[in-house]
């Protein structure tokens, strides 16, 4: 079964008004189970819009979105995905632990189960010792890790991330990238990841989807095949080949097949 199928989707904002904007036009996207797909493109290319469509936070104007074999709406109601935004968006009045518990609470889990699950997730992102802290006491990188733990708490088959590391410094960013890959490998989660960064997209993804703006559409999909994804991989020739391929695709140069 495929994690996400976006079939011929067009999204028009403010339809029929003078400020009508075609955010996405004829988008086709398939995310296989266990795949890590990055969406990359200039500002305004509709990559966030595409992510929100998959999350059923907005509805397509035409076309259909299928998540885990169901309609996007059904999948959202079943909490078939976890989501993380650029801002960690933690609830400042809840402790770290209770923030991670939130989605479990809304699912109606018992208190003891909730606590056990949330503690497990915090251990996964390396914040077990900070369960009783309040978000304002944590650094930006730690907050973002809590947000990822929260997204993973219901153990969704699909993880949606909208520039989750965008506001972080380079060092924290690279560390969290490695952590995220480890978590995804461990849990077998499929991921759709929106980013501005070519290197981030190549390092993380099995497939990089390149988009262009006005109207937003997919211009290229580049499969990334790295033998390993560790610190050495960031220096490998293959990695740089892929970075070049993505960069050329972003500039509109016809992509040479990067195999």
């Amino acid at each position: 079964m495929t994690a996400v199928v976006v079939d011929n989707v067009t999204k028009v904002f403010n339809q029929g008004r003078s400020d009508e904007v075609t955010a996405l036009s004829d988008v086709e996207l398939t995310v296989g189970d266990g795949e890590f797909v990055s969406l990359i493109g200039p500002s305004g290319c509709g990559k966030s819009t595409l992510l929100r469509l998959i999350a059923d936070l907005i509805q397509p104007t035409t076309g259909s979105v299928t998540v885990a074999g169901k309609s996007a709406d059904r999948a959202r109601r079943d909490q078939d995905y976890g989501i993380a935004f650029q801002q960690a968006g933690l609830f400042e009045w809840r402790t770290v632990l209770r923030n991670v518990e939130l989605p479990l609470e809304l699912r109606g889990l018992k208190k003891s189960e909730r606590k056990a699950k949330a503690e497990e997730m915090l251990a996964l992102v390396g914040l077990a010792d900070f369960a009783g802290h309040y978000p304002a006491q944590l650094s930006g990188g730690m907050q973002q890790r809590v947000a990822i733990a929260r997204a993973l708490a219901v153990q969704p088959p699909l993880l949606l991330m909208d520039e989750p590391f965008g506001a972080l410094d380079e060092m924290t960013r690279e560390r969290l990238q490695t952590e995220l890959l480890g978590i995804c490998a461990k849990t077998g989660t499929s991921t759709v990841f929106v980013t501005h960064s070519i290197s981030e997209a190549v390092f993380l993804s099995t497939k990089v989807v390149v988009m262009s703006a006005r109207p937003g559409r997919i211009t290229a999909a580049i499969d990334v095949d790295l033998p390993a994804r560790d610190e050495a991989a960031r220096q490998s020739e293959k990695y740089f080949e892929h970075v070049t391929a993505v960069r050329q695709a972003l500039r509109g140069v016809p992509a040479k097949s990067a195999t």
Binding site: R52, A55, D56, L57, R76, R77, D78, Q79, Y81, I83, F85, Q87, G89, F91, E92, W93, R94, T95, L102, P103, E105, L106, R107, Y134, A136, Q137
Partner: protein, 280 residues
């Protein structure tokens, strides 16, 4: 400890200003271009503070109870009215805020009237409301209605801002959890609105005291501190210290209500306190 010192310092500064002005001020007040811009400093207008304090200990009328007991009773009576008005006003304010947050059309339609309600002079409204006394509610409750009428406003406006304060990503997050209107309200909007709610409640507390005191006077309700101020001020020419004892009572009542309201905050704002401690 330090706070107690500050309070005592504040009282001392007030006493020094009062007595200092009495010392240097003209007994007939200072008149400039036909306007008296500094008050009379004679014993009739500004009795010595110790006279006021002494007056508290002496009987209200010959052979009656000491004034401080009478004032305490009156304050307790007015406090009851204030509390009832405050609770009713806060609840009305909350409900209005939730409705306005949920329905854009209600916000557009209702908010101007909410603001308009506070421009209606209380004195014009009081006789109307006092007419309800004895028929649909006991007379004291009409004063509570007036207090509530003043108290609901800051709560409605402050709470509306608070309920609208969560970021779009917070709201989207709740939507991604398939949380409906009610659960978004309880888990996100209410807790997010608390920093807006508490200052609003403090304003509402002060407004409820003013409403109760003014309400007592304009509806002619007996037994409260507002009524006492009016009664004692009639004796001001023969016994000037007496009216000041009643005013002192009203001021202390206001402080007491403000303090009680800010106590509400303590259990609910733990995370704020926590953060402050850590950043120190």
């Amino acid at each position: 400890m330090r706070r107690v010192l500050y309070v005592l310092l504040g009282v001392a500064i007030f006493a020094a200003l009062w007595e200092g002005y009495k010392l240097v001020g003209s007994p007939d007040g200072t008149v400039l271009f036909g306007v008296r811009f500094l008050p009379r400093a004679d014993d009739l207008s500004m009795p010595h503070l110790w006279t006021v304090l002494q007056r508290l200990g002496r009987p209200e009328l010959t052979g009656g109870q000491p004034v401080w007991i009478v004032i305490l009773h009156a304050c307790a009576f007015t406090f009851g009215i204030t509390a009832a008005g405050f609770v009713a006003g806060a609840l009305v304010g909350l409900v209005l805020a939730v409705l306005m947050q949920q329905f854009r059309i209600v916000e557009r339609g209702l908010l101007p009237y909410v603001i308009l309600s506070q421009t209606v002079p209380l004195v014009a409204l009081a006789p109307l409301i006092s007419g309800w006394g004895g028929t649909i509610m006991p007379p004291w409750a009409t004063v509570s209605v007036i207090a509530a009428y003043l108290a609901f406003f800051p709560v409605a406006v402050g709470m509306l801002r608070g309920l609208q304060s969560p970021t779009a990503s917070g709201v989207e997050l709740m939507r991604s959890y398939a949380a409906g209107w009610w659960r978004t309200l309880v888990k996100l909007r209410f807790p997010a609105s608390l920093p807006y709610l508490f200052p609003a409640l403090r304003l509402a507390g002060a407004a409820a005291v003013v409403g109760a005191v003014v309400g007592e006077i304009s509806t002619g309700t007996r037994g409260g501190i507002g009524r006492l101020i009016i009664e004692y001020s009639r004796e001001a020419t023969s016994d000037p210290a007496k009216v000041y004892t009643a005013m002192l009572g009203a001021a202390l009542l206001g402080l007491f209500v403000a303090g009680a309201v800010s106590l509400l905050e303590v259990p609910l704002m733990r995370h704020r306190r926590h953060v402050e401690v850590v950043t120190l």
